[in-house]
């Protein structure tokens, strides 16, 4: 469809994007508020950022969150890529229906169920709640998202390239590493970033599986929010939004560049 947008179309887009972005914008602007009252502007100040960096429990939680996100995203990327390969390259292997069910279910399953069931599992096998239980729980949830992202890419790319490599005598493993992997690399990176953000963001599953030794940033933010609005939480949120914005911009540029390179090679 390539006709001109009607006034109704333009209005829908403007209102839609205003609805999506205004709350985030207000939050970031008011993180620079001098007043302790979060909704009343009292002049520009960076004092809440300073207070935030002096808040040691919060910094500690942030560090734990980053480590969990990184580790679980790496595990999820490996497992998710394997699962995507299994779904696209292995045809009808035994138990495939159960497998697809287990890949799609965690993505829509209410988090309270996933969180509770994993916790009961860890208690049953006698694993102490803390860093590792959150990491394993996050890996299980996020690997499914990686699977879908990588699977979508494996579905669309030109299989004849793989066949050509095999015909020329490349063993399957070599074909995978020198043909398939470079072609699906952007989707693997996207899957990793998605897994990383989902882990960093998760409150519910982490709450069920957190122990005395390991509290994550969303758990800390949640307990502060329950007590009321706090300018420090605004500052922490603004930093997280900044990290995401930079990350997404980088990923977009990377995929643009790789798309350009593919186009150039095709010409």
């Amino acid at each position: 469809m390539n006709r001109r947008l009607s006034l109704f179309n333009v209005t829908s887009l403007v209102l839609g994007f205003a609805f999506l972005y205004l709350p985030i914008l207000l939050l970031v602007v008011f993180s620079f508020n001098a007043s302790r009252l979060v909704t009343v502007w009292g002049g520009f100040s960076t004092q809440w950022y300073v207070a935030l960096f002096r808040n040691e429990p919060l910094m500690e939680a942030a560090w734990v969150t980053l480590r969990i996100a990184f580790l679980s995203a790496i595990l999820a990327t490996v497992l998710g890529t394997l699962a995507a390969l299994a779904l696209t390259r292995y045809g009808r292997f035994p138990g495939r229906t159960l497998f697809t069910g287990m890949v799609y279910a965690p993505m829509v399953m209410p988090e309270v169920i996933t969180g509770l069931s994993l916790l009961l599992f860890f208690v049953a096998i006698g694993l102490d709640r803390g860093f590792w239980t959150i990491t394993l729980a996050h890996t299980t949830l996020t690997m499914c998202f990686v699977t879908v992202v990588v699977q979508a890419r494996l579905m669309t790319f030109d299989r004849s390239l793989e066949e050509a490599a095999m015909d020329l005598g490349a063993p399957p493993l070599r074909t995978f590493f020198s043909v398939t992997l470079p072609l699906i690399a952007p989707s693997i990176v996207a899957g990793f970033l998605l897994a990383f953000t989902l882990s960093m963001d998760d409150l519910v599953i982490a709450s069920f599986n957190a122990g005395p030794g390991a509290t994550t940033l969303p758990i800390k933010i949640y307990s502060q929010v329950r007590l009321g609005l706090s300018p420090e939480v605004n500052a922490a949120s603004a930093i997280l939004i900044g990290i995401v914005a930079v990350g997404v911009a980088t990923a977009t540029l990377l995929s643009k560049r790789s798309a350009l390179r593919t186009q150039r090679n095709a010409h």
Binding site: M1, N2, R3, F8, N9, S12, L13, G16, F17, F19, L20, P23, I24, L26, L27, V38, T39, L79, L82, A83, A86, R89, Y90, F93, F99, T100, G101, V103, Y104, A105, M109, P110, E111, V112, I113, L116, S117, L120, F121, A137, T140, M143, V148, M155, T156, P172, M200, D201, L203, S207, P218, Y222, V225, L229, S237, L240, I241, V244, V248, T252
Partner: protein
């Protein structure tokens, strides 16, 4: 195909086997444990439930299972009300999401092709920022002396502060806001592929625009409508964060109930029974969703 030597066959079998085993161990087995604990009795101990499973005494194990927790769920109308209210809130939110999401997706699909990737990125971007933070942002907007009241009072539309926070309306706003990308993207994906000449043909034949929309656009967009609705409805039924932060104490939702049984009352068996109840409500939509998704991915060109 030439029979490959054994070690290579083994390596190739590992590709599906590793994620398969992982999901069985960390997704399927935990479920069975939830089911088991939902059938056992609470105890003041650590962990706070009586272990019912004993490998040496299978008969004793079977005789100890009871439906007491489920009797509690059926007997106490709190859970029935929470279930009904969760389904109602999720259904109304999904309808609102369709109303809000369709015009946006439609406009995106009609935009010039060179602008579309940017529009898609703009819809996805908020999804990458923290869910908790996005809900938190609405607390500041909806509270009585918050931004919405300030703005409407400055415009002279209202003279009294609005009290939307801690009501069901706030929960609807929160769900629509947080889930909008999940509705817009599947809708956009189907609308974008639609053949525009169909509409043109209908209009040329004298069909009024609104009828062309109902008779052509809507049926063709149906796969997107189904996928988007399920993607929003299923997690919304079990939502915890939104009703907890934006809803009032009277906003009953089953996810919130499960949370309080677990964290406040420390009744793990009852919490497990609530989880099973929630799963029973959602099993049909989840199975439909899985089929829709699997078909969508497998029939792609």
């Amino acid at each position: 195909m030439i029979a490959r030597p054994f070690p290579k066959r083994l390596a190739s079998a590992l590709v599906p086997a590793v994620p398969y085993l992982w999901l069985i161990l960390l997704f399927l087995v935990p479920f069975l444990i939830v089911l088991k604990i939902s059938l056992s009795d609470p105890a003041v101990a650590q962990p706070p439930y009586k272990p019912v499973f004993d490998w040496n005494d299978v008969l004793g194990f079977l005789s100890q299972l009871d439906l007491e927790n489920f009797e509690t769920l059926v007997g106490d109308d709190l859970y029935l009300r929470a279930t009904l209210s969760s389904v109602r809130i999720a259904a109304i939110s999904t309808a609102l999401l369709l109303l809000v999401g369709f015009p946006i997706a439609y406009a995106m699909a009609r935009a010039p092709a060179r602008h579309r990737p940017l529009l898609v990125a703009l819809v996805i971007l908020p999804f990458w920022t923290s869910f908790l933070i996005r809900i938190y942002a609405w607390v500041a907007i909806l509270k009585p002396e918050g931004f919405l009241t300030q703005a409407l009072m400055a415009l002279g539309i209202i003279s009294e502060p609005l009290s939307i926070l801690n009501t069901e309306t706030a929960v609807y706003i929160g769900i629509v806001y947080a889930y909008l990308p999940f509705m817009v993207l599947p809708l956009y994906a189907t609308l974008e592929k639609m053949d525009d000449t169909l509409i043109e043909a209908a209009l040329d034949l004298g069909c009024p625009p609104w009828r062309a929309f109902w008779a052509i656009t809507v049926p063709l967009a149906m796969p997107g409508v189904v996928a988007g609705s399920l993607l929003c409805f299923i997690p919304a039924v079990g939502e915890f964060v939104i009703p907890d932060l934006l809803g009032g104490s009277e906003t009953l939702m089953i996810g919130r109930q499960l949370w309080s049984e677990f964290f406040s009352n420390r009744d793990w068996p009852l919490a497990s029974a609530v989880a099973i109840l929630l799963l029973i409500i959602l099993v049909v939509p989840i199975v439909i969703y899985r089929d829709v998704e699997a078909r969508r991915l497998e029939t792609r060109p």
